[in-house]
Amino acid sequence: MTTQAQSQVVLQEAAMGNLSHQSKRRRGRRFTPAGGRTSFTLFLCILPFLVLAFLFSYLPLYGWIYTLYDYKPALGLAGSEFVGLQWFQMLVGSPAQMAQIGQVLVNTLAISFLGIATSVLPLAFAIFLNEVRAPWFRSSVQTLTALPNFISWVLVYMIAFSLFSSSGLVNDVLMDAGLVTAPLKFLDTDQNVWLTMTLWSIWKGLGWGAIIYLAAIAGVDQSLYESARIDGAGRFQTMWYITVPQLMPTYLVLLLLSIANILNNGMEQYYVFQNAFNKEYIQVLDLYVYNVGMTGNNLSLATVIGMLKSIISVALLLTVNAVSKRVRGESIV
């Protein structure tokens, strides 16, 4: 249910591509079963699950009404004061608040853009791994590099801590070698936070991200390569003129989705890595909503920010989808 899990699901669904087309097969054949189930009984079978989806996905939308109140959990909605658009005004009214929101937006966009800029890495990873001939080497690389994807951000932070804290392995090795005299502060610093966060994302996601492209490469028609070789194409030419164009549709779908998700970085990674030193540059929107709402106890203001974020995200998704329909003739959602 985390944003990350959701966005991964969205990514995967996009990669599935024309699901809606597939589902149109095998319809039309109707028959009356001997068991004599009516269509409404069938509906009753799935009703409990529809209720779950309603409770956890639709009912919370009603909570957007808290944006109009000064919501105090102890008093409930009835006891809370109705304040109209006060929170929206507050968001843009005070220069301090504006500056903070501005910084949070800059962080969010910077980290997202770095993510988009490095989204070609899994593609390159897959293309170059495909050039490796030894099967055992290929599968070992694939297994080892995909492993970090399956651990939690807490464990990633634990690893970062044991390797990069002031008493961690890296500083130990550097000091032993006499390269530095005092431990470098890799974690407790506001310098290069966006970059280090991107590097950790790459460490965690690169090998896994490449699997989808490796699958796509496996599906490329081999006769394309053969005819290219007959035409005298070298290694790099087949990579550039055959593999890359064949992977472009998959890449574009994932790229468009990451543009639609530009405001959704998730909060777990940034939550575990945040500390007093890097807080200013690590707070992305999702983490900010948590910090304002859960730590700062301003539920209404956090709801306002979360609501605006959700609306913009859905709008972005619809826009990107429309662009994809026009340009590529294929919708992504």
Binding site: T2, T3, G28, L147, F150, A215, A302
Partner: protein, 315 residues
């Protein structure tokens, strides 16, 4: 390739492979070296945690265990379970992973199957009703307030219930059922089976590949989940291993205290090398957290790679 070549040249000696150019050789070396380096960067941290958790604690606290274990011992694993909360957290983590995975897999398979039933009342509408939830979210705070209203804060079921209906899993299962012959159902219903029997007796046993894919993703999500404990749980008896690990990283001083308390129980037998330090506790708990995944992951890799292949390779 080689077989066709031998056939064509019709000689027992295979044709010599085309001589690689200098550029080819350089490319190959660089390519292998880069992948070797990246694989090492991915794997070494796990290895580092493991060798440190079984090394002499006074050496590992200094950061001197780098390539292989020094002063091998396993008492960290015995002692760490005497830390307050750790056995319970392990039970909670295992519990949510098992219960959550079973329910998610069953629900996904069932819903995937049910949405192929063209006779269902409002089928298309309800399918969209579920799928559309992938694309919007009310946001953290409204969801939190609903959970609180439903009495799910400080409740084990908050770990399970929100994960049961997963649109993406339902799509996967539905696509899979659609690839199965419809006659299976017709035959079973001729024999008088009702819809639930058709599902459990006929379809479910034949859906193993897709169920395995859903199960591994669900299990990994459940085992790794951290955010829900952070947001919904204050009751210590419902903490998960992930949450405990996070607290262990951030509470160095109280951790040392806990280590001394735990060490006090074993005071007589614990020497310098086996006395718990914050470092040894962190490393050991990390290994406990990561071990199930390291074991399960290679076993199931085939399944989910195939699951992804199903989606990525069109036609």
């Amino acid at each position: 390739m080689t077989t066709t070549q031998t056939l064509l040249t019709a000689t027992p000696v295979p044709a010599p492979p085309p001589r690689p150019t200098v550029g080819d050789v350089l490319f190959r070396i660089a390519n292998y070296a880069l992948f070797l380096l990246f694989a090492l960067i991915c794997a070494y941290p796990f290895y580092y945690l493991i060798i440190n958790s079984v090394s002499a604690n006074d050496v590992s606290a200094l950061g001197d265990v780098r390539l292989w274990p020094i002063g091998f011992h396993l008492s960290n694993y015995e002692q760490v379970f005497q830390l307050p909360g750790l056995p319970i957290a392990t039970a909670v983590s295992i519990g949510r992973t098992v219960i959550g995975t079973v329910l998610t897999v069953l629900a996904s398979a069932f819903l995937g199957f049910m949405f192929t039933q063209t006779r269902m009342w409002g089928r298309k509408f309800w399918y969209r009703f579920l799928i559309i939830t992938m694309y919007f979210s009310a946001g953290l705070i409204p969801v939190f307030i609903i959970m609180k209203t439903l009495g799910l804060t400080n409740n084990f079921w908050v770990y399970v219930l929100p994960f049961i209906v997963q649109p993406f899993n339902i799509i996967l299962a539905k696509t899979y059922v659609e690839s199965m012959p419809r006659e299976l159902q017709e035959a079973a219903e001729m024999d008088g089976a009702n819809i639930v029997q058709v599902f459990f007796r006929v379809y479910l046993p034949n859906m193993t590949p897709i169920l395995a894919t859903i199960a591994i993703f669900s299990a990994v999500t459940q085992w790794n989940s951290f955010q829900d404990t952070l947001i919904y749980i204050t009751d210590q008896s419902l903490y998960t291993l992930q949450y405990l690990l996070y607290m262990f990283i951030n509470q160095a001083s109280s951790l040392a205290q806990a280590a001394q308390d735990a060490g006090g129980n074993l005071g007589q037998i614990a020497g310098e090398a086996t006395t718990q330090t914050p470092t040894s506790i962190r490393m050991t708990v990390s290994v406990l957290v990561v071990l199930p995944i390291i074991f399960v992951y290679p076993l199931f890799q085939r399944f989910f790679v195939k699951g992804i292949m199903l989606g990525a390779v069109k036609g």
